[in-house]
Point group: D3
């Protein structure tokens, strides 16, 4: 099999371009010109794609990028579907309950970058505004080009971010003072600042192609590892973030008592001894 090739697992994507970029690596690229702005059908499709990827043993790691000009400029503010539904409601309570359901579904869609239980690397270029930060924060690893421009833009639109940035971003970075400043002020920041506070782990010279290549390369390395170990690692990392150390250890004990019974361990060890590349069963 040669790479890249179109991803056959979800052939009819409308708002995304899907490619098998390397063995075990799905490249999921936002594809709604000109700036990959988000409308409801787009994140509903995203959910379906990630569910497919979760259950597809041929996908071991995922790279997320944007087609065209940028990663994504955020919500499509011209899209009025929610506004219309809300307008139909007779009072503020009912409007609130309708919005509550809508926000919940939207949050779930972005949380699928976690539910997919396979490592996800964001590879950003151009503009990464608003929802872009929600999305990147839900990914495991973040790369960007030198010239990428970031902004937690929601306050400028009159709202507090509600699709995950305020939950995940401060737990990712190592400077809470700057994190809050960026959330309150909506000011733009560049890759150097993003790297310095720990939002990015790599800044790449060049444009979309170069950053995607770098992400695919890391994803390929991960995709070559024992799949039970990699999935377990993601499950435990996410669990640990949200629990005490002691709770995290107990949960690890419970699940790993099964995961340690995989064939991957003898395969991996034999490969080390024979200095060969191990070949694992799919997951």
């Amino acid at each position: 099999m040669s790479f890249p090739q179109p991803y056959a697992g979800y052939p009819d994507a409308k708002y995304h371009k899907l490619t098998l970029a390397a063995d075990g690596v799905l490249l999921l690229s936002f594809n709604r010109p000109p700036v990959n702005a988000w409308i409801d059908p787009k994140w509903q499709e995203l959910t379906r794609i990630l569910r497919t990827a979760r259950d597809d043993g041929d996908v071991c790691a995922i790279v997320v990028a944007g087609e065209g000009r940028c990663f994504t400029a955020g919500l499509d503010l011209n899209e009025q579907s929610l506004a219309k539904i809300v307008a139909d409601q007779p009072d503020a309570a009912r409007k609130a309950l309708v919005m509550r359901s809508h926000i919940r579904d939207f949050q779930e869609a972005i949380s699928w970058f976690e539910y997919v239980e396979k490592p996800v690397i964001a590879a950003a270029h151009g503009v990464a505004y608003g929802l872009a930060i929600d999305i990147m924060s839900a990914c495991d690893i973040r790369y960007a080009t030198k010239t990428t421009k970031f902004s937690i833009k929601e306050v400028d639109a009159g709202l507090a971010a509600d699709i995950g940035t305020l939950q995940r971003f401060p737990k990712i970075v190592g400077n809470d003072s700057l994190a809050r400043e960026l959330c309150f002020s909506a000011r733009e920041f560049d890759s150097a600042e993003a790297r310095e506070i720990g939002f990015l782990s790599k800044v790449v010279d060049g444009g979309r192609e170069e950053v995607v290549d770098a992400a695919v390369k890391t994803a390929s390395i991960i995709a070559s590892k024992a799949p039970v170990a990699v999935r377990g690692t993601k499950i435990f990392l996410l669990h640990s973030r949200d629990h005490t150390v002691e709770e995290g250890l107990r949960y690890t004990t419970a699940l790993n008592s099964a995961l340690l019974q995989s064939d991957d361990m003898p395969v991996a060890m034999l490969a080390v001894m024979q200095k060969k590349t191990p070949k694992f069963a799919k997951l």
Copy 2:
């Protein structure tokens, strides 16, 4: 209205100097010469000031600084009020219960930098020892002059810090090894080190005036934003710090289903389209 001007909302402050430093920006400056050391009436007044600021629609952001020589050198160790009350108690249990109430009230006073639900920027110069770190850690954003000296000084006085440093400081910075080293050893650290580990987001050349100016400038930008969005952002950031991502998302959903019904959103969007400065109703 011209700035700066005295803050009329709390005219009789005894241990603090209160100024409206810019439109919507309250400058709260510790004012107990020579080193702004803390006694009970001072933090009791602080609570009342911050409660006033919370309920005052003219205050959108707060800058915290110190008058005179420094930000604050910490507790006034000559102050014996607690010691006297404790001495009256007949046994160690009753002494403990008295101190428990006192510590709790003191902690609450400092937590008011969070309860105020408006962004708070600390602007430190000179010495920032002991309680200074408790206070700065309870603020959202931290700036300091190049020559500010910090120390988590409590261990040198024979006690474990109990007004918030041990709770908030390690969640703010990005180097837990250094954080603990500073807590155990009470050694002094400077602005460069504080910036590097993520305690500060800006180090300013010059003295008190320069660092306060920088803080007021950032506070002004924040004060110009949609107030419902800014308050929501602070509420969600604080909630998120103390909850799982999932809990944080659910809480956001509950409250934002009301906050998204503000008039700030259409005002903000119209301003973007008309390239004008938006004018929001007070909060």
Copy 3:
């Protein structure tokens, strides 16, 4: 008393070398040539040593290092004791329950670096792979030589790390993107990278001797402080990591209402006034 001298509190250690390196400072050095690989009796001994140190008033701080070539290269993969026990079990459920007990005991052993309730400084040289990261992450402070090589190696052996790295490492460092990349890929990283993301607080020129000296020096400073304050600080730091700020404050209030009744406070204050070194009762 002159230092260093053998530690008399646990004279018969088989897999560890124990030294009183300075007044109040226990140097605990892994000692199983050639690479300090771990077998069950080694961590069982470690538990007993740390329990002894916890209850020994002469130990105020601990430095952890490796004898010989390196800190530790991780698990001894030739050791088959668990494999044999597991093989005896008739089905996957019973195998799982046996492994669950084993993992739990192993986790507890490493958590004793926290249970000891005295500051622990890891001083690493050479190779620090796999279990080395679990161990260092359970310490309070981390130093290493310039040439130390780190790796979260478990995925390469076909398993997800389960002795604490996935729980503690991401809460220590300030770049979650890089943290996850290192967990998924098992790639080696050096001291510079470890310092930059906040895993280390000091990188030392030279070899084992130099890094141990630096750690002992810091440990000595800590050992000279009021012991009730230092123990309280460790108790509160660990509690805070795993609780909300509010819970942390309340717990501090409860315990500190007793700890503030120590004689260390007047001793410390008198020493400050007299500019003498304070002399505290043991703990």
Copy 4:
């Protein structure tokens, strides 16, 4: 509109009989003769039905019952779909991961009795074994005939209950000693015992018809109340069960600040004053 009538909202149910039993009351009856045993497509259909009911303003409360001989005798042990999928997996780890997904989906299906956010009354007759207890425990209110026989049957099949009984049952009843005895021993218990420990709130003379009538009667009363108030009550009751009192109060504050802006409050109060039946907008 006259009642009962077939429920038009989900016309093609295969394993359930759906009736509008009264104004605003959906009667959902398990319908897989002879004993309403559960297979995967049955709970997958259940999920879809409850999702429909959640979004249907004509459904204000739900009664759950069984067609024919009994409420449900539990899992269909002849159904081998999971066994077959598991058998295909090469090792115990992969078998575990497949089962983990399957159990999770099954749990979610039963949790839909909570996610539906409208009150659910279980009306049991005949046998209520195994999964019947998982289901009834996920409902809000439980009625049964005098002759209904209950059993937490899972231990007799060699497994620990994993679809919710062990989580919800002990939080529902007021005798933890008996609750655990029933979980460990799988012994049958009758309606009198179930009533005494607080599992049931009503025991009805007669058979399926009588208990369903009693449940529909209570459901009708609930369906006549202000729908925003009823939905809010269910949301808060579920939240409260899983949080501290303080967290519960805060969450209530957040959401109720919107829900109190409904038109239901003036409508309800006017009705009280006019001694008329209030007429609320749908939700």
Copy 5:
């Protein structure tokens, strides 16, 4: 000193009648004819009274009752202060934020029955509707006359209860099915039913006088016990309700290590040996 006598600690109560009913027992009686309906100044006064009682060593236990016709019929629906403030706000978001503050303050007032840290016994007669259940649920012990009528009335007014009933009531009683039924339907229940599900621990023949006498009698017994032990018990019971068993044990360990150093223990033991009534220092 003879009892009953007016309570001198808070002489000017407007909406409450305060009596020292026995040695160490404060009788706090709601006093706003005809049905003790609640308005803002009433619960604001309640907060001040309970704060006074907390700090008054002469108060060891509290009995809560209603003057006149009943315990309390709930909110005064004629009171429009909140409605007026809300009406002034320009949009649903700002209305929500104003109500959020108001609900929070109201909740806090009722939570003062817990914050007072001394045992509180509710003694109900007549009608106990709506807020009456919020209040009684925040007390420790509940007695009522045979003829008391209860209702979780909020749904009938078009709102979900938000002052604590939905948080505390289900954790108090032993029949969650009935608890939810009462919350959803607002139906009246009597003392027998309230006793059966565990809401009450005593039903008293007679009227207000008899139930108050019974409560004062129990309160007197409690007031005669070691005050450090009683306060510790209340602190630990409240902490335990909201934490895991393990967390509860740890917190107990922290605080009891001080409380066990009281003089009450030797006093109590000596009294047992001498078969005398112990005399404890005040708290």
Copy 6:
């Protein structure tokens, strides 16, 4: 093998009498005449016995009782070991830290009734005071004779209960009002009251022999069940008590994905079909 017979697994118990009362049932009887009062070596032995029982495949369930006059009258107040150690400490802080360690170890000993991970039935007769309630509350199931007398006695000794009663008792019973009354007042209650509030699940006519027989009979039934299922059930029940429903379900999913791979399931099902008693492998 005939029963009862001495338990060979721990032959030298000093403060306990150990018997195999039936196949798989360990009868652990407190044995320190005259009233089984507790001293440190007694609970230290208890820990060792329960650890042995946990690891002994021949023990499937445990019955706990008292030799001689009663279950246990609580702590031995003549025992002064802790008092002596505490007296040696120079200040209240150090006394507190010593007591903290001691209380923690004592709590752990009693928590071993949970850590043993096999069902435990308490069978009480005579007096069950103070520590008796801590112990019974840590057991899974509670039986008593009609004449057993209970008291949460600690307040009468001047202290708040700290070995688990305040944590576990209120979560067991269905009447929080009575639970708190008993904790505050230390008043004696009998088996009828204990049964009514849900502390006991069976009250037995007769004395020690009869209640132990009843407990052994129930324990025998449990001991005949699939051991993986029974252990899983206890693990999940304890986890569920201390977690949200959602957390409980997730943990169940993790561990049960291994436990469902036991041979007990096919053995149990075959036995059902063949109407034979199943024979399970030990655990």
